[in-house]
Amino acid sequence: MHALEESWRVLKPGGSLVDIRPYLGNMRLELLTEGQPSLAGLVDDSGLIPDHEAVEHTLAAGLERGLFEKEDERFFDYEYLWESPEGLKDYVDENWCSRRLQKSLFKRLKKMAGEVEAESRVRIRDERIIARYKKLVE
């Protein structure tokens, strides 16, 4: 809650708070072959649920206290592209802490990539939420 209160403090009257973040539960791993996606499966992002719930709780508390009111909210797809399954694996090993690329899922992706003759790429597509809140006078 403190971060939200601090944001309220540094904002001018009527200023905007913009919240942008991943929305959980629909992180699709796909093989793109000649532009056509084939779903390998869903990446396990359940490790992010505690952070996600904390943000939701903080924002809800800010609305309840009359610090902000919601003006707009939308969802959009966000994509990451790699040239190969190995490229994805390297990136995941280096960067992911709370998401998990299941071994069985990666194995399925490798098998799919091995079965296509045309050039293919790897795509992860997740959902993002963006919302704008207006600062209210307390």
């Binding site: 403190h2 971060a3 601090e6 944001s7 403090r9 540094v10 904002l11 001018k12 009257p13 200023g15 905007s16 708070l17 913009v18 919240d19 942008i20 973040r21 991943p22 992010l48 952070d51 996600h52 943000v55 707009d72 909210e73 939308r74 959009f76 797809d77 966000y78 994509e79 990451y80 592209l81 790699w82 040239e83 190995e86 490229g87 994805l88 390297d90 990136y91 280096e94 960067n95 709370s98 992860i124 993002r128 963006i130 919302a131 704008r132």
Partner: protein, 99 residues
């Protein structure tokens, strides 16, 4: 390490513009990291301030700052709970959650 191509259709920038409405504004970005998102809206903002708790990321942001960015831009090591800015200083605050 294999860096991916991110958001090839530029949806994030489009939604930041449409929903965030940051053009011409004094913007504070909380959790700016290496500035990846900052560069998406920074060309239209009046000024941009970014804070993060990771000084390696902030160093990258300063290093990668586009030379043609018109808005005055500064990055600072700071926590969202105690920000080194005076009250009523910004038109918009962007929470760039990176979990």
């Amino acid at each position: 390490m294999s860096e991916p191509i991110r958001d090839p259709e530029g949806r994030e920038a489009r939604y930041l513009e449409e929903v965030g409405q940051l053009g011409g504004k004094r913007v504070l970005e909380i959790g700016c990291g290496d500035g990846r998102m900052t560069w998406l809206y920074g060309y239209d903002a009046e000024i941009v301030a970014g804070i993060d708790v990771d000084h390696y990321e902030l160093r990258a942001a300063n290093y990668d700052r586009p030379k043609d960015l018109p808005a005055p831009t500064m990055f600072a090591l700071a926590e969202a709970e105690r920000m080194p800015f005076s009250s009523a200083n910004f038109d918009a605050v962007v929470f760039a959650w990176s979990y």
